[in-house]
Subunit: 227 residues, 2 copies
Amino acid sequence: MIVPPKNSSETNREYAFRVISENIISLEIEPGSMIGEQEIATALGLSRTPVHEAFLELSKSKIVDILPQKGCLVSMIDSDLIREARFLRITVETALVEDACELAKEEDLRELDDNLALQEFYLSKDADKLLALDNEFHKLIYRICNKMQCYYMVSLMSMHFDRVRSLSLHSVKDLKIVSDHRAIFDAIKKKDPAAARAAFQKHMARFDLDWNIISREYKQYISDNSK
Amino acid sequence: MIVPPKNSSETNREYAFRVISENIISLEIEPGSMIGEQEIATALGLSRTPVHEAFLELSKSKIVDILPQKGCLVSMIDSDLIREARFLRITVETALVEDACELAKEEDLRELDDNLALQEFYLSKDADKLLALDNEFHKLIYRICNKMQCYYMVSLMSMHFDRVRSLSLHSVKDLKIVSDHRAIFDAIKKKDPAAARAAFQKHMARFDLDWNIISREYKQYISDNSK
DNA sequence: TATTTTTAACTAGCATACAAGTTAGAAAAA
DNA sequence: TTTTTCTAACTTGTATGCTAGTTAAAAATA
């Protein structure tokens, strides 16, 4: 497990949650593996309590399954849960980009534009940075619409999707993702909800994961009920 | 605080979560009041640990706000959070009823129909029973679409809405709610997504809370940023 | 050898104790 | 009297120990 340093502003619980999440999404912790609270606590230099609380939160999205008196099972890659995460994200964000057309203020548009400029700058230079900017772009939409609670809920579920997202990112060109974002931005700027919806759905369609690819690449990690 | 008996199948944490939730939704615990973990733990005959964990979960939807070293603040009635809960629910369930048109199997339709028969039976007889059947009807839609994680997320947020729902229920006739449900059911049965969407949106429009009524009835409980 | 029983080493749920931060009021100083 | 300082009683965050349940391997039995 990769253990980054603790950010001074975060509590031990938040630190544990962040580290476990990152390791699950990066597949550093393998799907289907059992991890104990004590094991993680020792690795992070904490007691079991904050780690226990982090697992509780993770279990709410079924990304881990707490088996009482047995341990924490990191969920296998599950097509149903991925579909559910995708459904939630597309459904919510499609509605949001429409709303953003009337809610986005000048300053909001400037922030989106700044983000896009950075995306275009880092294109084919720094994939990690580009991914972070992508996430930030979507988060900005939630903020413009004053829907940050929804962002939290969608993010929690999205972990299932994030874990296999790299597979689609390889096939999809970054170039297209950034130009998609630009199209969404233009629609919001023009206050054209129909165009925003269309642009967003075109964008998300690129992430329609090919289950054949997933099951080939991650054969050993696929949950039984997905086969 | 009203303390129902502990269900034998639930853990202490689940029990604490259920009891606190019910008391917040019923306004038995007043919005804006501070409640301590020890206070609740004593009332439920538990230690602080499971109560602490229940509060952590509740804080994720901002229905309570944990102020470290100070206490747990039960959130004031907040128009932004109510709007967000409503947005999430309407957005997700509108998409679901469309999907349900192709996903509902014979057995699913029978379950919905049975539920509706009970709703019609209890109409103007038992308001509490009717409310439970209403919730069950919506939950069935999630189950038909295999979206139970979304149900959990939406439910958690809906607490903000549920807390003031009684105000709209008084003005809306139960008769209309049940006939709305029947219309949604008919559309799903006929596999007509457009009709299902229309029927559902008509249904939810009835719950477009009148902020004037809320602020009159719950004046003392309204959060500052809602005024 | 094959099967059952026992046991010892694990696990998470929970209770308890302590640490660290907040607050309200008493005591001291102006 | 008014202001400041201090203190004691709170709060949640976290560590630790105990309880009860699971598991797998050793030991006993067939």
